[in-house]
């Protein structure tokens, strides 16, 4: 288990991540410049935070107050980079054996041979990294870290440099190799899809802070606030007020509409932000509108065909048109079935169990 809470300043950027990561694969997900890589450098000990602490399996690696700052090679962490950062002047064997210190030559050779077998690179021991394929390099980079039996494996955007097909193949390969690794893995990525595919836990980072962390579905379906919602693709974010009449279950008043919401709401009269994911917005046949709660009438504004599905933009009519456009993802099948095209009049519905209430954050994006 990795556990940290520290502060590091660099050229006006303040990094203050605080997180607990369990065994298994966790993702640190955020846009470029969010502070992901800097967090990694602090974790491995290549940068020294001004304040706070870092613990790995109850071992204190850094504690500003106590003056503890363990050297990187004593932290039992391994780092795998995009483009793998192999030692180009050493063979595969040399790369793998680099971290094996204090062993006899025979022991080190056994370790390396076992690792070559695990990586399915037998016979490649005398090759140089430049003589390997991308996938083979990736495996060597992983093996170079795993061979020292680290407690924490850090993967820094390991797949960003690859094309789509390679990426999917290598993700599967890496997950496969990680099966036998009993420690904690942190995957740093700016791809939400990658974070979701590889990790059970996702931590969303931006502006140097962890905005939310938790099980991957929890983060995707229940973003804490507007900023997380935007990062995890819950792009339809609305403002409303909690309505509470004695006669009806609580709902959210939004323009002239009143939405039913399955989740527990704050007290009536409270201003709230709420969101719905584009793939959760339902397209409704006109004759079935009555059966659907939270139905809205409007017009399809634009559509973008994205290969396997459509990204639609919808604008409600009447007062709710002031709310801006609603993004909807729909399958090609449904698109042709409903004969959708820009300009078409349309009914949509926002299922009560898919409407998610967000915590309000101040407009300037800073929060105490």
């Amino acid at each position: 288990m990795l556990d940290f809470d520290f502060e590091y300043r660099l050229n006006g950027f303040t990094l203050t991540p605080a997180l607990t990561m369990e065994r298994g694969v966790s993702a640190l997900y955020g846009p470029s410049g969010a502070g992901k890589s800097l967090t990694l450098l602090c974790l491995v000990g290549l940068r020294r935070p001004e304040r706070g602490w870092i613990r790995l399996n109850r071992r204190t690696l850094f504690d500003a107050g106590a003056g503890i700052h363990i050297a990187p090679h004593l932290r039992r962490m391994a780092l795998v980079f995009q483009e793998y950062a192999l030692f180009p002047h050493l063979t595969v064997t040399g790369n793998l054996a680099y971290g094996l210190r204090g062993l006899t030559t025979a022991d080190a050779r056994d370790h390396v041979n076992a690792m070559l077998r695990l990586l399915r690179l037998e016979g490649f021991g005398n090759r140089y990294p430049s003589e390997l394929s991308g996938g083979q390099r990736q495996r060597v980079a992983l093996g170079r870290g795993l061979i020292v039996q680290p407690e924490l494996l850090l993967l820094d955007e390991p797949f960003s440099a690859l094309d789509q097909m390679e990426r999917e193949r290598l993700r599967a390969e890496v997950l496969d190799l990680l099966q036998g690794f009993g420690g904690t893995t942190v995957l740093v990525t700016h791809s939400l899809q990658e974070a979701y595919l590889m990790a059970r836990q996702i931590a969303v980072i931006d502006g140097g802070r962890i905005l939310q962390s938790g099980p991957r579905d929890e983060v995707l379906q229940h973003p804490r606030d507007r900023r997380v919602a935007e990062h995890v693709g819950a792009s339809n974010i609305f403002q409303g007020t909690v309505a509470g009449e004695a006669s009806a279950p609580p709902g959210i008043a939004w323009y002239e509409e009143r939405f039913n919401v399955a989740a527990t709401l704050p007290p009536p009269g409270t201003d709230v932000e709420f969101c719905i994911r584009p793939e959760h917005v339902r397209l409704v046949w006109p004759e079935r509108v009555a059966e659907r709660p939270n139905a809205l009438r409007g017009r399809l504004i634009t559509e973008v065909k994205r290969g396997i599905d459509y990204q639609l933009r919808f604008r409600a009519e009447g007062a709710a048109s002031g709310a801006g456009e609603i993004e909807i993802h729909c399958s090609e099948h449904l698109h042709s079935l409903m004969m959708l095209q820009p300009g078409k009049e349309l009914w949509i519905a926002l299922p009560p169990d898919k409407l998610h209430v967000l915590t309000l954050v101040p407009d300037d994006g800073t929060v105490g």
Partner: protein, 217 residues
């Protein structure tokens, strides 16, 4: 008959100064390439000063510093180390002249080493080991190029040497000074022979540089 002394002296001076400038230069280059510290920009400017200032100016202040009544010279003389107007002065002059070349070449070589490779190495081994097993091997072509430049510069050092070591035949007269002296004495054959030898040595060095094994990566 070609004078042998200046040739041997210049080879010795260039060898020693290359060694000294290399030792100091690699350290300073690493600092400049990899560390951020207060005064870094100042250090970077000061390092190139010997390249920019007129050699006589550099020589003049060295003379003040290292002369018998100079702040450093007096102390060194107290422990029996004479500098000014000895072959040691020629070594110091050549070291100072080639120092900026070493720093610039090696700094560029260090900066070309991917910091992520070093970072990955640092999680596996202590910093000193990483420097010798990763950083140096990856930068060695640049370092060698810097050394060869330094040697050539040491062979050709004239101005600072003249100020600090003088041109005492048989004691401090290096190859370039001997050529100048021969021309002054209208001994063009001697000057020509020494000049051709200089060209030969420097050309041989450049040849070696061009024949360095290609990197595998």
């Amino acid at each position: 008959m070609v004078e042998l002394f200046p040739i041997l002296l210049s080879l010795r001076v260039a060898t020693l100064s290359t060694f000294l400038a290399g030792l100091l230069g690699v350290g300073v280059a690493w600092l400049l390439a990899r560390k951020r510290f207060p005064g870094r920009t100042l250090l970077e400017s000061v390092v190139v000063l010997p390249l920019i200032l007129p050699p006589t100016v550099v020589g003049f202040y060295l003379l003040l510093l290292l002369g018998r009544s100079g702040p450093l010279g007096a102390r060194l003389e107290a422990v029996g180390l004479e500098i000014v107007f000895t072959w040691r002065a020629a070594v110091i002059a050549a070291t100072l002249a080639s120092f900026p070349l070493v720093v610039k070449a090696v700094q560029a070589a260090f900066e070309a080493v991917d910091p992520r490779i070093e970072a990955a190495a640092r999680t596996l081994r202590p910093a000193a080991s990483v420097f010798f097993t990763v950083t140096l091997p990856l930068a060695w072509r640049g370092i060698l190029a810097g050394m060869i430049l330094a040697f050539a510069r040491g062979m050709g050092e004239f101005g600072i040497t003249l100020m600090l070591a003088g041109s005492i035949p048989g004691r401090t007269q290096t190859l370039p000074l001997a050529i100048y002296d021969a021309v002054q004495a209208n001994d063009l054959a001697q000057a020509n022979a020494l000049a051709l030898i200089t060209i030969g040595i420097v050309t041989a060095l450049l040849f070696v540089l061009s024949r360095l094994p290609r990197a595998r990566f």
